[in-house]
Amino acid sequence: MILELKMNTIRYIIQKEFKQIFRNKAMLPIIFVLPLIQLAILANAATFEVKNIKFGYIDNDKTSLSRELIEKFNASTYFNVLTDFPSHIIADADMLEGQVDVVLEIPLHFERNLLKEKKTDLSVRINAIDGAAAGVENVYVNRIVQQFNQKVRTELLLVGENINKLQNIATIPSFWYNETLNYKTFMVPGILVLLVTMITLFLSGMNIVREKEIGTLEQINVTPIKKYQFIIGKLFPFLILGLVLLTVGLIIAKLLFDIPIVGSILLMYGYSIIYILVILGMGLFISNFTDTQQQAMFIAWFFMVIFILMSGLFTPIESMPNWAQVLTEFNPIKYYVQVMRMVMLKGAGFSDIYQQLLKTLAYALIMNALAVYSYKKVT
């Protein structure tokens, strides 16, 4: 009977929150439509593939071999062959202005040296302001030059050479879990994580502080409501909202981007519930500590940016400095990104993700205990 009464109190809060959410005609589209637009845009735009490399060359040789090399670049889908620079001075100036990313300089007597001395040099200049992209561009350039090299050897240099010297070792990579190396397959689960996190963190972060601002919190505080009843009542509607958002996002991922969902849906939702509770606990904790929605928003953003950039979503955690890697241990988004990728793409089961699950569960308990603790009915 007493337990029933306690549950009833929570039910009335949940009811009230849902009514307020659905009555807010401005918020509802923001909650549901904006994230999905983001998903559609980000999934296509947030890619690490280095494509459309602006490529220029300086051909000092102007022979059939040099033209053949340039033709190789032309044929590649990664390079956008722009111009033939008359001199490297002009090429350097263009690179400074950002007109060109990669400049290949073919020396004079390129063909003659290659045929007679069997070796020659090429010079490649790469704009390395974006170091990661420059590395990738270097690999692409090398690969094309090597292919060219091999072709030249077989076609032209074999005369008088020992055929056995040519070793034909070719690696045939097979890419697991994402056979086509589709970046969307890699990114969409992560972007879904972001959307669910942002919406639930911001909504919960602004919720209690909003009641503080309009004065209704004081009215709640004069009632004999228990602190945990209040917090649970506040959590539940946003948990449901987060799960609905996740569902809509998954449907879009499947229909629009054809992302594979290999693993157990049940496991994914089970984990998602615990994860969303972490974020909501965090949001309500922020809400309790702030006096205005503006403050809450700034603090929520502060954590959001750190969590996103240190989640392994955009940059691999393995390449972060050690201290940063230690910090990521406290990043709930990191675990969620890992779990979503593992379950969706690899079909990971409970035993594969139980570590993340345990950590997230502990996190959820701590955050919500803090949310209850920091809610002060008495000042």
Binding site: Y12, Q15, K16, G215, E218, Q219, V222, P224, I225, T379
Partner: protein, 244 residues
């Protein structure tokens, strides 16, 4: 508890850093009394009231409300009191009926009770056409009436009203006081803060707070005699000026 006093306050003090908002006040309020708690802006009325309703911890001193200590039994105090604040405290984005249901629900009323009480309240205030309209769309005077009624839902012994009639016309204020009197006749104790000195005349007893201290406490009649003036307004001005 001695003969029918329902609020006991002894040496109650609240400080914020160096500032003493409520300075060592003591008084009693009798059961069924309409007690006016007067004072200028910033005199410490609201702070004192917040300690009595259990949402602000006293720095020192003690207070019992409805037989419970406000420090150690704040949640029990809250069960016995109703509160309507200066800042309008219903949800503007819920209807009248939804507000009643919500507050009834968190006070732990039974579903059937909530239903009958909502209906009674709507009948009494004659709000049949407005019951399902959002509170935000109602005139201020109506909101205050509804808020007052909602604070009575769980049948509290004492009702705390913090400047309940701020910003409405004299006729609406008059009607609001009629509601207050009806509840007082039912035996409820009313503890009300106000700026309006004409309202002070309606109270059984009034206290006047100046700079955190209670400077006067008596029936309006006795106060007027003591200060040899015609109205509570003059009593108030005299007291406030003396201090300055």
């Amino acid at each position: 508890m001695k003969n029918g006093n329902i609020i006991h306050v002894k040496n109650l003090t609240k400080t914020f850093g160096d500032f003493t908002a409520v300075d060592n006040i003591s008084f009693q309020v009798g059961k069924g009394e309409v007690f006016g708690f007067l004072g200028a802006n910033g005199a410490g009325k609201t702070t004192a009231m917040k300690m009595l309703i259990g949402i602000s911890k006293p720095s020192s001193g003690e207070a019992q409300v409805a037989g419970f200590d406000v420090k150690s039994q704040a949640e029990k105090v809250k069960r016995s009191i109703g509160y309507m604040s200066q800042r309008f405290s219903l949800y503007n984005d819920l209807t009248i009926r939804e507000n009643i249901t919500f507050f009834g629900g968190i006070y732990g009323l039974k579903k059937s009770d909530i239903k009958t009480k909502s209906q009674n309240l709507i009948d009494e205030l004659d709000l049949h056409d407005e019951a399902d309209k959002l509170v935000g769309s109602l005139p201020l005077g109506w909101k205050q009436k509804v808020a007052f009624s909602v604070s009575l839902l769980h049948d509290p012994q004492i009702i705390f009203l913090d400047e309940p009639t701020g910003g409405v016309d004299p006729i609406t204020r008059r009607k609001f006081w009629e509601m207050i009197y009806r509840e007082a006749h039912k035996g409820k104790t009313i503890f009300v803060t106000t700026h309006y000195m004409d309202e002070a005349e309606y109270c059984d007893r009034v206290s006047i707070m100046v700079a955190g201290k209670i400077e006067a406490l008596d029936t309006p009649k006795n106060l007027k005699e003591k200060y040899k003036v015609e109205s509570m307004n003059q009593v108030f001005l005299k007291l406030a000026r003396n201090i300055e």
